[in-house]
C-alpha cells in the first residue's frame, strides 16, 4: 500500500500511509484508538475506497471496490464484531454468499471445512449452530470462512479482545501455522505483550501517519509505546495504601438465575470497602456483569442479600430496589456499564443530553433543566480533554475513548460513595487508560468504594487493593493484589471452588 489517504468529513483518518505486508510473516498493526488502523485495513479489504494512493499486490496495481473483489484477490478480514447468522450452522455460514457451480452440497462443504481445521489446528464442528457457540468458536468460524474462500492475506481486527488468555494462545498457534503455510497475516491490536509474542514485524500508526515499521525481535515494549504515543509513558500505575477502609457494600450468598434458568451467580459473598479498589477478575461471562447489575438494581436476584453501610453508620438492604429506589434512598451509586452506548449513554444525544441522564429529575415543575447539565458538560469537556466539536454533538459519532471519558466523567461528577466499573479501559488507548486509572485512584482517595471489573490481569494486579476472582458464577478466591501473582489469579479463574469448601 502506498500513499493511502482517507478522509471522513473533516477528519483525516489516514494521511499518506505506506505499508508493506509480506507473505509468511505476521505483521502487527499497533496504534492508539482512532489512529487509523482499522480504516487502513478496511480499505485493503474493500469496505472503504481510498481517497488517494495505490495498492499493489505481488507488484500489480489493483483497485478494490468491494469485499468480494478483495476475496478474489485473496484478502480477507476478520472484524471485531462477527458477521454470522445465528440460526445457521458453521458450514452454512461459511459458504454463505459464495457462488459455487452446481447444487449445494453441504457434506462436501463440511468435509472441506474439516480439512482446513485439521491443516491449521482449529476446533470447529461444521454442523454446530452459531448460537450454541462461544465467542472464541464464533471467531474460529469467521477465520475458517475466509480461509475457505482461499484467502492468503488475512487481517484480524483486535482478535484477542474477546478471548481468554488460553484461547488467545490457541489463536496464536493457529496464526503461526498459517505463517508457516506462506500466508500473510495482519493483526490489529493494542496489547503489547501479544505483539511481542506473535508478530514478526510491527507497524505503528499514530494519528493517521505511519510512524515506523520495526522487527519485533529488535524492539522492546517501551520503544513501541514511545512510537505509539509519541512520548514516553511509564507503564506502572500508582497505588496508594487504602485510608481507613470500612465495609461499604456487603454481599452475602447472592444467587442470580437468568431467563433460561441458568445460574449466573452462585452464592457470591464479599465485602467492598470504602477507600479501596476491589478488582473482579474472571474469564468473560463468569458472572461479572450480573454481579454489578444486581448491586445496581438492574438484575433480578433469586436469593442472598446486598447491604449498604453508609459512612455515618446504619444499614440498608439494597435487595429488590431498582436504580430509582436506590437513588431515592440517598445512596450515590455510580455505575459505568460494559455497554457504554447501549446502556450508559444515549448515542444520538450530545454531551448535555447525556449529562441529563443523571440529573433530569432535579428541579420542580414539568420542565427539564438544561443549563446545569450543559455547564457540567463544558467542565468535563475541558477537564478530561474530550475531543468533540461541541456539547451538543451526538456522542455516538465520537471515538470509544471519548465516549468512555464522558460516561466516567458523568458518573464521577455525581460524587458517588460506590463506584462500579465494568471493563473501564476496554478498547481505549494507553493515554486514555491512564486518565481512567487516575480518576479511579482519585475516587479511592476520597473514600469511595470502587469495584473494578477488568480483563487485563497486569492492570488488576497493579491497580487494585484486593482482587475477587469469579469462575462460573462462583467466587473462587479473594486475593491481596499486592502479593498475588498472575499465575495465582489465572489459576483461580479456571478453578471452580469445590462444594463445601470455605472461602474468605
Amino acid at each position: 500500500m502506498q500513499g493511502i489517504t482517507k478522509r471522513f468529513g473533516q477528519v483525516i483518518a489516514n494521511d499518506n500511509v505506506s505499508l508493506e505486508i509480506r507473505r509468511g510473516e505476521i505483521l502487527a498493526l499497533l496504534g492508539e484508538n482512532g489512529s487509523g488502523k482499522t480504516t487502513l485495513m478496511n480499505m485493503l479489504s474493500g469496505i472503504y475506497a481510498p481517497d488517494g494512493g495505490q495498492i499493489f499486490i505481488d507488484g500489480n496495481e489493483v483497485t478494490i471496490r468491494s469485499p468480494r473483489e478483495a476475496f478474489d484477490l485473496g484478502i480477507g478480514m476478520i472484524h471485531q464484531h462477527f458477521k454470522l447468522v445465528d440460526v445457521l450452522t458453521a458450514a452454512e455460514n461459511i459458504i454463505l454468499g459464495l457462488k459455487e457451480p452446481g447444487r449445494l452440497n453441504l457434506d462436501a462443504v463440511a468435509k472441506r471445512v474439516r480439512e482446513i481445521c485439521e491443516a491449521y489446528g482449529f476446533d470447529v464442528d461444521p454442523q454446530q449452530k452459531i448460537y450454541n457457540m462461544s465467542v472464541s468458536q464464533k471467531q474460529t468460524v469467521e477465520i475458517v470462512k475466509v480461509l475457505y474462500r482461499g484467502v492468503d492475506i488475512l487481517i484480524l481486527d483486535e482478535p484477542t479482545a474477546v478471548l481468554t488468555p488460553q484461547e488467545t494462545d490457541r489463536l496464536f498457534a493457529v496464526l503461526r501455522n498459517m505463517k508457516k503455510d506462506g500466508k500473510a497475516v495482519v493483526i490489529i491490536t493494542h496489547k503489547l505483550p501479544e505483539v511481542m509474542a506473535v508478530s514478526d514485524r510491527v507497524a505503528v500508526l499514530r494519528k493517521g501517519h505511519n510512524i515506523g515499521c520495526v522487527k519485533t525481535s529488535e524492539t522492546t515494549q517501551q520503544e513501541l509505546v514511545n512510537m505509539m504515543v509519541g512520548h514516553a509513558t511509564t507503564l506502572d500505575i500508582s497505588r496508594a495504601q487504602p485510608k481507613n477502609p470500612q465495609p461499604r457494600i456487603t454481599v452475602t450468598d447472592l444467587t442470580c438465575v437468568d431467563k433460561d434458568g441458568v445460574k449466573r451467580l452462585d452464592k457470591v459473598s464479599f465485602v467492598a470497602n470504602s477507600g479501596e479498589i476491589l478488582g473482579i477478575a474472571g474469564i468473560a461471562g463468569s458472572g461479572q456483569r450480573e454481579l454489578l447489575e444486581s448491586i445496581a438494581g438492574l438484575c433480578p436476584v433469586q436469593s442472598g442479600s446486598i447491604v449498604y453501610t453508609p459512612e455515618e453508620g446504619g444499614e440498608q438492604n439494597l435487595l429488590g430496589m431498582d436504580p430509582l429506589a436506590i437513588k431515592n434512598a440517598g445512596i450515590a451509586m455510580a455505575f459505568v456499564p460494559e455497554d457504554r452506548l447501549g446502556m450508559g449513554l444515549v448515542g444520538s444525544m450530545g454531551m448535555t443530553g447525556n449529562m441529563m441522564l443523571r440529573s433530569w429529575r432535579e428541579g420542580k415543575g414539568p420542565f427539564v433543566d438544561r443549563k446545569h447539565p450543559q455547564e457540567l458538560a463544558k467542565q468535563l469537556w475541558k477537564l478530561l480533554e474530550i475531543a468533540t466539536p461541541g456539547t451538543e454533538y451526538p456522542v455516538r459519532r465520537l471515538s470509544g475513548g471519548n465516549v468512555q471519558k464522558i460516561l466516567v466523567g458523568r458518573e464521577i461528577a455525581s460524587s458517588p460513595s460506590v463506584l462500579m466499573m465494568a471493563y473501564a479501559v476496554r478498547g481505549l488507548d494507553i493515554n486514555t487508560s491512564y486518565v481512567i486509572y487516575d480518576l479511579l485512584n482519585e475516587q479511592k482517595d476520597k473514600g469511595v468504594a470502587v469495584i473494578y471489573v477488568g480483563e487485563d490481569l497486569d492492570v488488576l494486579l497493579e491497580l487494585c487493593d484486593r482482587i475477587l476472582v469469579l469462575c462460573g458464577g462462583q467466587v473462587s478466591g479473594i486475593v491481596d493484589a499486592r502479593t498475588a501473582t498472575r499465575e495465582q489469579v489465572g489459576l483461580l479463574m479456571t478453578q471452580i471452588r469445590k462444594e463445601g469448601e470455605q472461602h474468605e
Binding site: L357, W360, F367
Partner: protein
C-alpha cells in the same frame, strides 16, 4: 497528491460519503431543489403521457388548493386535521412505539362525539357540549391507545399488529353505530347530525367556519412541541426510544412510560376524531378517518417529530391531494394519473433526506476542500 492520477480510471464511478452536519439553510436549499426537480420530472411525465401543458396542470393544482377563499379554507381545514393526527402520533413514534392504530383512535373519538351530539344535542348548550365532547373523545382515544400499550407492557405483545387490529375493531364498531343511528332509515348512513339545530357543531368564529379547528390544533401543536422538547416526560420518551437498557439504567420504568405516552398519543388522535365529526363532516361513517391515521405517520417521520415542521408537511400533503383531485376533474384524467404526480413529488422530498446526510463523489473528482470544511 501526485499518486492520485493513475487511480482515477479504475476508481468506482460514484462513491458515497457521509456529510458533516450541514448548516440550516443548506438543508433547506437541498429540500427546495428536490421540489423543483420533482416539478420538472412531473412536467415531463405530464407532457409525455397526456400531452397537456405542465404549467396549466400546475396552475390547476394551485387553484384546486388555493384558488378561492373557500378552497383555501378547506385546504387549511384538511391540513389541520392531518396535523392533529400527526402530532398525536409523534410522541409514540419518538418512543419507537409503532402506533399504526391512529385510524381506530380517530374513529373511536368520532363515535363518542357523534353520540354526544345525538343524545345531548338538545339538552346542553353547544359551548358546554363542545367541552364535553373534547373530553370524552380524548378519553375514548386514550383508552383505545392504552389497550395495546398495556398488553405490550404486561405480556410484551407486538404493538404494530395489535394497534393495526384495533383499527378493524373500531371500523366494525363504527358500522354498528351507523346502522343504529341510521337516518333516514334505509340510507345506510347517519346523515348530517343536528342539521337544523346545529347543536354540537363548531361555531363560526371571527366570521370563519373553521377558525376553531385551527385554534385547537395549533394549541395542541404548541403543547406537543414543548412537551417533547423541554419537559421531563419528553426527555424520558427520547431515552426510552433510543435505548430501553439506558432507560432502565437510570431508573426509568419503561412500562409506565409506554402506557403513559400511549394514553397521550391516543387522546390526541381521539380529539382528531372529535374535530373530524364536530368540526368538519358533522356525520360519522367508516371513512371518517379516511386513511389519515396512516398518512400522518409520514407527517411525523418526515418532520422528525418536530411539531412545527409537521405543520409545513401537513400543508404540503393536503395541497398535493387537493391539487391532484382538481386536475383529475378539470382535465378529465383518472384519479390515478394525479396520484402519480403526488407520488413523484413525495419521492423526491423523501429522497432529498439522503442527500442531506450523504454526498456523492464522482469518479476522478477530487474532494474539494470547501465541501469538507462546510
Amino acid at each position: 497528491m501526485s499518486e492520485h492520477s493513475p487511480m482515477d480510471s479504475r476508481e468506482p464511478l460514484l462513491r458515497i460519503a457521509k456529510r458533516d452536519a450541514l448548516p440550516f439553510w443548506k438543508n433547506w436549499a437541498i429540500r427546495l431543489a428536490a421540489v423543483v426537480l420533482a416539478l420538472l420530472v412531473c412536467a415531463v411525465v405530464v407532457y409525455a403521457t397526456v400531452k397537456l401543458s405542465p404549467l396549466k396542470v400546475y396552475a390547476a393544482m394551485w387553484s384546486g388548493a388555493f384558488g378561492t377563499v373557500r378552497r383555501s379554507w378547506v385546504t387549511v381545514r384538511d391540513a389541520m386535521l392531518l396535523l392533529c393526527v400527526g402530532i398525536g402520533l409523534a410522541p409514540a413514534f419518538k418512543m419507537r412505539f409503532w402506533n399504526i392504530g391512529a385510524e381506530g383512535q380517530i374513529l373511536i373519538g368520532g363515535i363518542v362525539t357523534a353520540a354526544c351530539m345525538i343524545y345531548w344535542g338538545n339538552s346542553m348548550p353547544t359551548s358546554l357540549l363542545l367541552v364535553v365532547m373534547f373530553l370524552v373523545s380524548a378519553l375514548a382515544g386514550a383508552v383505545w391507545g392504552f389497550i395495546p400499550a398495556f398488553f405490550r407492557a404486561r405480556w410484551n405483545t407486538n404493538e404494530t399488529l395489535f394497534t393495526l387490529m384495533m383499527n378493524y375493531v373500531a371500523i366494525q364498531l363504527t358500522s354498528f353505530f351507523v346502522s343504529k343511528w341510521e337516518h333516514p332509515i334505509g340510507s345506510n348512513s347517519v346523515g348530517i347530525i343536528n342539521i337544523d339545530t346545529r347543536a354540537g357543531w363548531f361555531p363560526t368564529l371571527f366570521g370563519q367556519q373553521y377558525a376553531l379547528n385551527v385554534i385547537i390544533v395549533l394549541c395542541l401543536t404548541l403543547f406537543v412541541f414543548f412537551y417533547l422538547r423541554s419537559s421531563k416526560h419528553g426527555y424520558e420518551i427520547a431515552v426510552v426510544g433510543e435505548s430501553e437498557r439506558t432507560a432502565q439504567y437510570i431508573g426509568l420504568n419503561v412500562k409506565t412510560i409506554v402506557m403513559r405516552t400511549m394514553l397521550l398519543s391516543g387522546a390526541i388522535c381521539g380529539v382528531s376524531g372529535f374535530i373530524a365529526v364536530s368540526g368538519v363532516s358533522h356525520t360519522i361513517s367508516t371513512v371518517t378517518a379516511n386513511g389519515r391515521g396512516f398518512t400522518a405517520i409520514i407527517v411525523a417521520w418526515l418532520a422528525k417529530f418536530n411539531a412545527f415542521v409537521m405543520v409545513l408537511i401537513s400543508f404540503l400533503i393536503v395541497f398535493l391531494e387537493r391539487g391532484a383531485s382538481e386536475i383529475a376533474s378539470q382535465f378529465n384524467l383518472s384519479e390515478y394519473a394525479a396520484k402519480i404526480l403526488t407520488g413523484i413529488i413525495l419521492f423526491f422530498i423523501i429522497g432529498s433526506e439522503f442527500f442531506i446526510n450523504y454526498r456523492i463523489i464522482l469518479r476522478g473528482r477530487k474532494e474539494k476542500k470547501s465541501s469538507c470544511s462546510k
